[in-house]
Amino acid sequence: MAEFTLRLRRYDPESGEAAYWEEHTVELEPHRSVLEGILQARATTDGSIGIRCSCRAAICGSCGVRINGRPGLACHTHLDKAQRGAKDGVIEVEPMGNMPIIKDLIVDMDAVHWKKIQRVTPWLQPKQPVPEREYVVAHESMVDVTQSLACIQCGACVSDCLSMEVDPDFIGPAALAKAYRLVGDPRDAATRARLEDLASDPHGIYDCTHCFKCIDACPKGVAPMSQIMRLRRRAGSDFHIEDPNNGERHERAFVSLVRQYGLLNEAELLPRSYGGDSALAKFKPSAAKELASSLPVIAKALLRRKVTPTTALKPHKLPKQDLDAIERIYDKVEGRDERFELNLYISGRDEDLT
């Protein structure tokens, strides 16, 4: 047994008072969970502490909170580990972000999370005719979508999604992972329509900024951002969907620039994203318009010395052997018969794993 102090964020909507911090000391074995700590405080001292919880085993997804500022499940975080991560030895627990707070650690998931899930047409639109028995599909395809289906809808990824903080309309990591569960399902008849929808929505798949926060946050290894990237690859590479948000061309510009220069060439990124790969891209009307509208940002960056005119205009140069090595990576990846996708449930051959 050891002593742990929890600093809980309390909020009583009926009191008219602002939210405040309250400390509780609990006694538990160090590998017990933060949830058990909170439940002990509730059982022994204050029954009014509000937290949703049910299974205690990271399966039901009820107890999403922030612990020491990081999102996760209270039942899935050990007390000793949480204490080590605390800035002053006191474990801080507060409600998740990006969602309105109802009481104490309880947030309104309907207002944000479930609304976004509903947005992605979250049910199978089965291929017709429906067979009498099961659809015959590859085992790997079912295992593959199981990674997205393993999502327990806890909201931890939504809590700390940076894109959603900036754009509250962003469909977001959990709902897009749900979308992949359907796009990746060979029994679904609406794959193209789904991808067109998600690519053309300005708050859709190209609204993610690759910050990895959702991958970090997810207690179940769903890796929502990876699912979003897979949606992009399906939309761009497999269905050649050119979206009005320029997302697909923007990605292609990254790929071609890194191949050419070994590193990103920022000065070329915007013209290529809007005008395509040619050197004349910047003179295309769409690119010129975007360039013009970006001038204030560029000017600000120059003024604040984030870039100098030389670094901005002169591409990075890598030694030839490094460029060759990069070219070899491209050749290898592009030379594969099939795109290689990482998946939690698919782990290679047994001999690779020992």
Binding site: E14, G47, S48, R56, P131, E132, M142, I152
Partner: protein
């Protein structure tokens, strides 16, 4: 006030399946749950769902295995319905999106499970319950125009009209604290089991016998309440479930001598005997000093004999549970387990359409007792039970409502529930806390009403429960608010648990034989002459449980000696 043809209380697999079936049959439907539907405890069902879909399998074999698993206490007409409709139900789930794992030909794969004579368990890794629950919820979102969802509403009581028919329920919006009467032509209880009567248990904190106690309170009979399943593999330290799928995939049970002791108890089926048999074997090994761990109270489950790739693909969740809650990498070392409370075979007595003896009231899933599980449920038959009888209840209730007028309970019906809650909130401090009473109940039940039972222990258990009931009636709470007052709900749930535990104990005292999950050390044999019958428990006028019997339906399988 809201009025629907069918009101469903509980939104796990049984409730959601009932809602979809009733809506499909043209009824207006409301589904109400004290938690968001995907938090329901069905989410924790791991291993899979039984159905005779293999070419060399037949539903009658599935039915026989189920009858034998039930130790011949299951009603065979109901078992025949469940098993014969199982393949169709699996295909239905597959068609609406459940990602059942496939074999190398792309057809549904099947895994071995306890008490089954063939591989017949369809599965999604070891998150089958979660996969089905989430897919059903997808369908509820799809049909949001025909199914009204009341999420995070706590039912406080069922309504009986003057004729003694159930015409709705009173419920509290947890978020606002507002109370409301819900009128309905039929009510389907689908609010799950009662695992929280025990500590430890594999069951979630929400499994507090709500529906069982609410039905009992209005006079519905409960059946088979003495039959409480201990799962053979729960984490030694905290009682979390390790799926039977592990043994289905080939894992071994080892005692302190490193021996597969199941060869002494079930030489043919070994680790895949039915759950009551395996749990009893483990407890015997522990009691005779061959347990493992510091206190000798554990048994080793050795999953390292299963190929690692297969474990990562098909038993992912228990890899997580081992790592996160026991510090064990199950792909490299055995994990310490023990038998732990997992499921109640008993519940509100129903017919094969889910109808209870109270007109207008249905029950399906763990809250109900059809009885398809009898003395012992086979692994992977519970998902099946929830779905088959959830659907049948939904269809039957919808059909029943077609020619009925909508009942209307007087608004005054609200008053007594409001007053009851106000009274709990107003209780004066003093005495023990709700949590202390609940902890004592759980530990006591796990001590005296567990794998092995005897008269003396059961009588003591009953006395303790009667005492705890008195204490619970005056136990004070801290939260005086209306928004998300979980404290007051906890006080109500404690009352439910105590009512339910009492019925379990009196039925266990009554059954003076050993059958299925009920093993009486003072009556160690099965006695078909005396006890091939169900025990029903009903609330008497004085509030005490009253016992009666009902016959076991036998269609084609006469009781025989049960060996695995």
């Amino acid at each position: 006030m809201p009025s629907h043809d069918v009101l469903i209380i509980g939104a796990g697999l049984a409730g959601q399946r009932a809602a979809l079936a009733a809506a499909q049959a043209g009824a207006t439907v409301a589904i109400m749950s004290k938690v968001h539907p995907v938090r329901s405890h069905s989410v924790a069902a791991a291993g899979g769902m039984n159905a005779a879909i293999a070419v060399d399998d037949d539903w009658t074999e599935h039915a026989y295995d189920t009858v034998k698993g039930s130790d011949f206490l299951g009603d065979q007409d109901a078992i025949e319905i469940m098993c014969s409709e199982a393949p169709g139900e699996v295909m239905h789930l597959e068609h609406i999106g459940v990602t059942f794992y496939r074999d190398e030909t792309g057809h549904l794969d099947l895994r071995a499970f306890g008490g089954a004579s063939k591989k017949r368990t369809a599965y999604v890794a070891d998150i089958t319950g979660q996969a089905i629950l989430h897919v059903l919820y997808e369908q509820l979102m799809r049909h949001h125009e025909t199914v009204d969802r009341y999420e995070e509403w706590f039912t406080t009581s069922l309504i009986l009209d003057d004729e003694g028919e159930c015409t709705g329920a009173v419920a509290r919006d947890i978020r606002s604290g507002a109370m409301q009467v819900f009128n309905a032509k039929s009510v389907i209880l689908a609010s799950g089991g009662a695992g929280q009567c025990y500590k430890p248990t594999t069951n979630a904190l929400i499994c507090t016998a709500d529906g069982i106690a609410q039905a009992y309170a209005i006079g519905a009979p409960l059946m088979d309440m003495e039959m409480v399943q201990y799962h053979p593999t729960t984490l030694a330290e905290n009682g979390f479930l390790i799926t039977e799928g592990a043994r289905g995939e080939g894992a071994h049970l080892l005692n302190s001598e490193g021996r597969r002791f199941m060869e002494d108890y079930a030489p043919n089926k070994m680790e895949l005997a039915s759950r009551d048999v395996v749990s009893r074997a483990e407890q015997t090994e522990i009691n005779e000093g061959r347990g493992v761990g510091a206190d000798g109270q554990g048994i080793y489950l050795d999953i390292t004999v299963v190929p690692r790739k297969r474990v990562l693909e098909a038993l992912r969740e228990i890899v997580n549970i081992g790592r996160d809650f026991a510090g064990t990498d199950i792909t490299r070392e055995p994990i310490m387990i023990r038998p732990g409370q997992h499921y109640i075979m008993g519940g509100v007595k129903t017919d094969v359409d889910g109808a209870t003896p109270i007109t207008g009231l249905y029950a399906a899933g763990e809250v109900a007792c059809v009885s398809v599980h009898g003395g012992n449920r086979l692994g992977a038959n519970s998902l099946l039970d929830t779905l088959i009888f959830g659907r049948r209840s939904g269809e039957h209730a919808a059909a029943r409502g077609r020619d009925m007028v909508m009942p209307s309970a007087p608004e005054s019906r609200l008053t007594q529930d409001v007053e009851q809650i106000d009274a709990i909130i107003a209780r004066e401090r003093g005495g023990r806390r709700i949590s202390a009473i609940k902890d004592e109940l759980g530990a006591m039940m796990n001590d005296k009403v567990a794998v092995f039972r005897d008269e003396q222990g059961l009588q003591e258990a009953h006395e303790i429960i009667v005492g705890l009931k008195e204490e619970a009636e005056v136990a004070a709470i801290d939260d005086r608010g209306t928004v998300f007052n979980q404290d007051v709900l906890g006080a109500i749930e404690l009352g439910y648990l105590l009512d339910c535990a009492e019925t379990t104990v009196v039925a266990a005292i009554e059954r003076k034989e050993s059958r299925g999950a009920q093993f009486r050390t003072d009556y160690p044999d099965r006695d078909d002459e005396q006890w091939l019958k169900h025990i029903d428990v009903q609330r008497g006028d004085d509030g005490r449980p009253e016992l009666s019997y009902s016959p076991v339906t036998i269609t084609r399988w006469q009781p025989e000696v049960r060996k695995y």
